[in-house]
């Protein structure tokens, strides 16, 4: 129980100094008060520890002594090694990020009046189950940017910086004046002349994929000293309806299509089509060929595969941080409240910047609390199960595997209780330093 002393001074008090019972209780009464707790603890916690240790040295059926074979499996079994590797990633990153965020939030919320409301919002996920949090984040991480909010935001940011393409599947139809120019671009087969109207028909854009600004296409009008033209969706629903390579009334212009005039491999002019698909190029385009560059036709960016093999563990760690940063924040804020204000003020008076005060005064003073929070989270993360079990889809659960999940699989679906017991003993060994620390600290206080 490392966190108690940090939480706000509830140091375990020493038992009454006199060894004589106040109440003059008989020992049999004391035994009766203790019996239920000790029996349950013995049967449900102590006995299983012994059983697991013994069981971990026996083979899977439990009949033959297996020596340390089960422990060897911890380092040779492919599944367990992935789990071990992921557990290390978890233990390194989740507690540090959660603690760092908790520290930042705790320090910053002191400076706004609605700090309490903010803390409430960030702390709230502590109240809900990891199952519910898992379902929440399955929704957040949905691959489809139209459904998962993570990808919706990501794609939004991405498209702000990289131009989105509007016509992913457009391509020339039959007898088209356009031909593929390599790399996904299309180019006219013959050069264009000023005073001549050019038709650049394409097909293949689904009606619901047309850009919002698309209007009924308008046939190109020739203009002197200019190259004019129209680029549009040369397709009318219904077989044989509408003429090929001619603008029909029901057809839509390719609003926003980029058009380049290329002469000797160099772009001499470029423009963008209007809503009705018409465009105008200056006289310099005379004799050039018109190209529709490839970035018009790029597949739309679909965001990250959050729950795919490579990102699944960081994604689940993200959901864990969402749940536990509030815990770190509240503990650290409690510690911060006990930092003497005069110290901070003195540093400010001495001309220290806010950053210096934070870095040289606040953080060192909070170091014990930060350590307690980080250790608490590490123990917690060591046993992480629910979030991984719920968020990782079946296809990437092997990649997201952690020890507690592997123990569950080995023990309860693959019928390998020997190996599962070895995993559990391994987990127990990892927390023994903390157990020892707790007991030692308390022994001093109990005896005082």
């Amino acid at each position: 129980m490392t966190s108690v002393s940090a939480a706000g001074g509830t140091k375990p008090p020493a038992a009454p100094k006199s060894r004589k019972s106040v109440t003059g209780t008989r020992r049999t009464v004391a035994a009766l008060f203790l019996l239920p707790a000790l029996v349950l603890l013995g049967a449900l916690v102590v006995y299983p520890i012994g059983y697991s240790v013994v069981r971990s040295f026996y083979d899977q059926s439990g009949d033959g002594f297996a020596g340390i074979d089960n422990y060897k499996a911890l380092f040779t079994d492919e599944g367990i090694r992935t789990a071990l590797k992921n557990n290390i990633i978890w233990v390194v990153f989740a507690p540090t990020i959660a603690t760092a965020l908790g520290l930042i939030f705790a320090v910053l919320t002191e400076r706004v009046r609605w700090g309490t409301a903010f803390k409430l919002v960030v702390f709230m996920p502590m109240a809900i189950s990891m199952l519910a949090a898992g379902i929440i984040f399955r929704l957040v991480y949905d691959q489809d940017p139209d459904k998962g909010v993570a990808n919706a935001v990501w794609v939004g940011v991405h498209d702000t910086f990289a131009q989105a393409s509007a016509f992913p599947k457009a391509h020339p139809g039959r007898e088209s004046p356009l031909k593929p120019a390599g790399g996904g671009a299309f180019i006219t087969t013959s050069p264009v002349r000023t005073g001549e109207a050019v038709s650049l028909p394409l097909v293949g854009v689904a009606p619901d994929q047309m850009p919002d600004g698309a209007k009924a296409a308008v046939a190109p009008k020739p203009e002197p000293d200019k190259v004019t033209g129209t680029t549009w969706q040369d397709f009318t629903r219904g077989k044989g309806v509408g003429a090929l390579n001619r603008v029909d009334p029901s057809e839509l212009g390719y609003a926003g299509m980029r058009v380049e005039a290329v002469k000797d491999g160099k772009v001499v002019a470029s423009t963008t089509a209007a809503g009705d698909g018409t465009f105008t190029l200056p006289a310099s385009a005379d004799g050039a060929r018109l190209r529709l560059p490839a970035n018009n036709f790029k597949e739309p960016y679909n965001g990250l595969d959050w729950l795919g093999p490579s990102l699944v563990t960081p994604a689940i760690i993200g959901s864990y941080i969402w749940m536990w940063a509030g815990f770190a924040m509240v503990l650290i804020a409690a510690g911060l409240a006990s930092v003497p204000r005069e110290l901070l003020e003195a540093a400010r008076v001495d001309g220290a910047s806010e950053w210096q005060v934070f870095r040289r005064v606040t953080v060192p003073l909070l170091a014990p609390v930060l350590a307690v929070v980080a250790v608490t989270l590490m123990i917690n993360v060591l046993k992480i199960f629910d979030l991984v079990f719920i968020i990782a889809p079946g296809s990437s659960q092997d990649d997201a595997n952690v020890l507690a999940l592997e123990l569950y699989r080995k023990g309860f679906s693959e019928d390998q209780p020997g190996i599962a017991s070895a995993i559990s003993v391994f987990l127990l060994l990892l927390v023994i330093p903390v157990m020892w620390f707790n007991v030692r600290r308390l022994r001093r206080e109990v005896r005082r």
């Binding site: 203790l34 707790a37 960030v122 809900i128 189950s129 599962a420």
Partner: protein, 286 residues
């Protein structure tokens, strides 16, 4: 010179303050949006969920419907598992509070040989991972015939709730002024009377924190129930977990189901913030 400086620093402070507010608001949204996403999803028809993102609801509020909830509450599996959650959580909480108080009181105020060593032994059990006990207890419960029952799940939670309960309550009870206990004793109070009339009421804050912590721990548990309950005794977390396997087709069950399972913990959270915080802070090692 001095005035200039203060003007400059005030300006910097103003800009910094504005940035700080924006930053905290963005972070707050980050923390709220996932939950709002679940809530909104639970209020949309499956066809709408398949067709567009939940944020569409802000432009088309008419999409909001309680159909998923009313369908869910007619779903036998869900309603019975909700009841199971209650049947598991309430006894597991009460037993831990009562048994933990008895032992905590004994450790704090009674005299018997090796008292401190016994107590330190219990403290050592605080950080034992539940994983260690899963296989042994599954076999034990199988042998005595309570594997798959509500009783088994309750017992397991009591066993692993007790170290923290004893630790917390012993430390709290030890701070009760000696004179109070002696006075009650002189008034002729018996052992049980002393315990129920003096110790328990004085320990109310710690007992409340413990009770809330244990209640939420058990209510929110998935792993223990996943192993020790069967289809007849499974709580809501296990019932929903079986649905997650087909995630995507059944969001109309998952979203409202998850939200219903969150209602009680959130109500407890908002109603008992202070006790909740102290309970969580003290017990997070578990």
């Amino acid at each position: 010179m001095k005035a200039k400086q203060s003007l400059g620093s005030r300006l910097a402070e103003g800009v910094g303050g504005g940035l700080l507010r924006v930053f905290l608001i963005v972070v707050g949204l980050f923390w709220l949006v996932p939950t709002i996403g679940l809530l909104v999803s639970s209020l949309r028809a499956p066809e709408d969920i398949a067709a567009s993102g939940w944020w569409k609801v802000f432009t088309e509020p008419s999409q909001i419907t309680f159909d998923s909830y009313s369908k869910l509450l007619q779903n036998e599996d869900i309603t019975s598992s909700l009841l199971n959650t209650v049947w598991i959580t309430v006894p597991a909480t009460l037993l831990v509070v009562v048994i933990g108080s008895l032992a905590g009181y004994a450790f704090a105020w009674m005299e018997f040989p090796g008292r401190d060593w016994w107590f330190l032994g219990v403290v050592g059990l605080l950080v034992v991972p539940v994983q260690v006990a899963l296989i042994p207890i599954a076999e034990l419960f199988g042998k005595i015939g309570i594997f798959g029952s509500v009783l088994g799940v309750v017992l397991f939670h009591v066993g692993f709730g007790l170290p923290f309960a004893v630790f917390l309550l012993r430390n709290f009870f030890a701070e009760i002024p000696r004179e109070l206990l002696e006075a009650a004793r002189l008034d002729g109070a018996g052992e049980l009377r002393l315990f129920f009339r003096v110790v328990m009421p004085l320990g109310a804050p710690a007992i409340a924190a413990l009770g809330i912590f244990q209640f939420l721990w058990v209510w929110n548990d998935l792993l223990v129930a996943l192993i020790f309950s069967d289809s007849g005794s499974q709580p809501i977390t296990v019932a929903l977990q079986t649905q997650v396997r087909q995630f995507g087709n059944n969001i109309d069950v998952l979203a409202p189901g998850a939200f219903i399972s969150m209602v009680i913990p959130l109500a407890v959270f908002f109603a008992f913030q202070r006790q909740f915080v102290s309970g969580v802070m003290a017990g997070a090692v578990k």
